[in-house]
């Protein structure tokens, strides 16, 4: 969401974001309390977390951090280094579910099947059950996604912050919370306390998961309040209620000093600088492909929020895409790259473009996508079976999906170790026909490194204006 500030484009996904911001002006951070999936998961995890101190700690002194994070991210975006995805709660939730939680779940179910499978007489029942499960819940084939561990650890770290205080992340770090908080400054949904009924019992102050209630139990911070209504439901005297108050709106203070602001700007500038000077080896970068319809690299990195939606849908078809680690540099962490030894770009599929929420992958219609080159295949003649050992093989050619095959054979002589001459069909790549889908690499029967590989050679990125 904040990501959109970093990109210089208007996309359809910005409309709900705009509506949300508009409503926030009046209602406050209702998103954090009622919609945010990360917030819900933090609340859920809270059920299992035992804090040393029973009373919720007052963490107001850390509130500034989230504004600092937001400032730094915006500053970075202005220098055209988009890193908002790292902490965006929506992207973060989706990323964690796609790369770790769902795969763990699927593997565990599959493990149970593995335990039961050897029992004679149970197999047909298990197969029916599996058939039923795979119709709505389980993947047909388990395709593992890389980076599940670091992505999960970041998520786990966020959940564990609740050890310090309830919703510590939402209170003090979440940049989206900060942005919404700023918009809530003048909200008209007012928390009112009937002073006569209030017994100063402190229950509301302790219950408030977001630490928004001031020491007098009457005042609250409009910037912090997430409309969870803990205070209203927990008040033994029913003294707390929420009402719209249009006249005489009292704004709340944003806990962000000038000094902290300048520190955050400095941090942002420095981080952006460090990321900009990152040396990305031409070899590691050039050997990787991006999804079909991806914007030119710099724009792509600006727009991609690492939500892993493309990776998720890709595992249901060809399974080409994987989140990167450092292959595309620090700036490219967790952005989708091709991993053709594990999977390929399915010829009749354009799902990645369909699901991309930011337009980093442009939706190409199928005929266009089928002609869009994401890379080019090259034979490794030291490994390819006909080239290396003089035996015919044609798995790559068989799978090549272009209507006019991009892999062809030319017959030639092969001299064996015993100096005998054999006739062999040598495979070649017709570069003008190859689209770099990588199915040849996936299906190559050579163990380990395939006899054919893909590089980004000749890749076509989607340009918005074509002259």
């Amino acid at each position: 969401m904040i990501t959109f500030l970093a990109s210089h484009r208007f996309t359809a996904a910005m409309i709900p974001a705009g509506i949300l911001l508009f409503l926030t002006i009046f209602l406050g951070r209702f998103f954090c309390g009622w919609i945010c999936p990360l917030g819900s998961m933090i609340d859920f995890a809270d059920l299992f977390i035992k804090r040393k101190r029973k009373l919720t700690r007052n963490t107001a002194r850390f509130r500034w951090i989230k504004f600092g994070v937001l400032t730094a991210l915006i500053v970075m975006a202005l220098i055209s280094v988009q890193f908002a995805w790292l902490f965006d709660p929506l992207a973060l939730s989706n990323r964690t579910f796609t790369t770790s939680i769902y795969p763990i779940f699927a593997v565990l179910i599959e493990t149970v099947f593995g335990w039961l499978w050897p029992i004679t007489g149970l197999q047909s029942a298990l197969m029916s059950l599996h058939e039923f499960l795979e119709s709505w819940l389980l993947p047909l084939n388990l395709h593992f996604i890389s980076q599940g561990i670091p992505i999960f650890l970041l998520f786990l770290g966020i959940l564990l912050l609740s050890l310090i205080a309830k919703r510590f992340w939402c209170r003090n770090i979440c940049p989206l919370g900060a942005l919404l908080g700023i918009f809530s400054k003048y909200r008209i949904l007012e928390r009112t306390v009937r002073g006569v009924d209030c017994t100063n019992c402190r229950i509301c102050r302790v219950d408030c998961r977001i630490n928004a209630i001031e020491d007098n139990f009457i005042n609250f911070s409009k910037v912090e309040c997430i409309d969870a209504f803990d205070c209203a439901s927990g008040c033994p005297e029913n003294a707390v209620s929420y009402k719209f108050k249009v006249k005489g709106v009292l704004p709340s203070r944003i806990d962000f000093s000038k000094r902290r602001f300048l520190q955050s700007v400095g941090t942002g500038v420095l981080s952006a600088g460090l990321l900009k000077i990152d040396f990305v080896n031409r070899e590691t970068r050039g050997n990787r492909v991006r999804p079909p319809g991806a914007l030119p690299e710099a724009k792509f990195l600006d727009q991609c929020i690492r939500c892993q939606e493309c990776v998720r849908v890709c595992t249901t078809t060809g399974s080409l895409l994987q989140p990167a680690w450092l292959e595309m540099g620090w700036e490219g962490i967790w952005s989708p790259i091709g991993s053709p030894r594990e999977g390929y770009c399915e010829f009749t599929c354009n799902l990645c473009g369909r699901v991309c929420p930011t337009g980093a992958i442009h939706l190409l219609d199928l005929p266009k996508k089928q002609k869009t080159r994401i890379g080019t295949a090259f034979f490794d003649r030291n490994r390819c079976i006909p080239w290396n050992s003089g035996d015919n093989c044609m798995v790559c050619q068989e799978h090549c999906p272009t209507p006019e095959k991009a892999i062809i054979f030319r017959e030639g002589e092969f001299i064996t170790g015993e100096k005998k001459i054999k006739r062999v069909k040598y495979p070649y790549v017709k570069e003008d026909l190859c689209i770099g889908c990588g199915i040849c690499v996936t299906k190559c029967p050579v163990e380990g490194t395939a006899g054919i590989f893909i590089t980004g050679e000749g890749e076509e990125r989607f340009e918005e204006q074509e002259f």
Partner: protein, 306 residues
Amino acid sequence: MAMLSRRKFLSASSKIGLLALLPPIAPPRTQFRLFDRAYKPTPDLFVAKTGAPAELVRRVVRGLGGMEKFVHKEDVVVLKPNMSWDRTPAQGANTNPEVVAEVVRLCLKAGAKKVRVFDRTCNEARRSYEHSGIAEAAKKAGADVYYVYKRNYVRVKIPNGERLHSWRINKDVLNADVLINLPTAKNHSISKITLGIKNLMGYLGDDRGKIHRHFSQKIVDIASILRPQLTILDATRLLLRNGPQGGNLDDVRWIYTVVGGTDMVAVDAYGASLFGLDPETLGFLEEAYKRGLGEIDLKKIRIHKV
């Protein structure tokens, strides 16, 4: 919670240990049903030309003596169409769905308990099942259509194998009473064309890519143990170039022909002639003939036009 004492732990674990001594509920099956049914192929081919695909199939099966000859009451039948590719019926990469549906109907009419249709696809399974049109057509005709499950394979010995001595094969095929092979006629780079014998690869587990080296010998090794009682070749259209998955409509020629026979090798030999190829020049057919799996001499194959 009550503490678990050492005594309790030992007694409980020994009880659980005793369970391991129980005999298995049923002894594991060593012999599979597919190998039980007598198999006597004859080089008689029934060829139907010009007509709607379903009608062609009916004519061929009538010529063969009716489906009842192969499918008995309460039989479990497995059909092997080619549905490997994420391609539409018009592109000619997969078996014509109308042919598959008609065979399903004939099997059920003959009294089959179950007709099963599945394939280990080359492209993603859901896409191939749907886009080939076969999943829908076969389901409508009354077949069980499902995806293969990775655990449902068993290693089978290949007694007379030259290159392969065992391979993992889908259990549902091995447990079937009748196996009907429904290949489609396509161009293929190494074997030149792909027909019935190659179609059997859809039942193999493991890394099938490994088969493609010394292809003729290996595929015939497989054919020596997986022997369909009936092969019906869908040559309603030929994929002439860029096989086995095509994609270009110009490469497809419609000839509205269906060929049926009990000798899979003879069916393939006849199929080769449809492409204007001499069966004896095709490595896998020559190999199959050499091992006595079937007839490839077109003069010795008896062709009945139906």
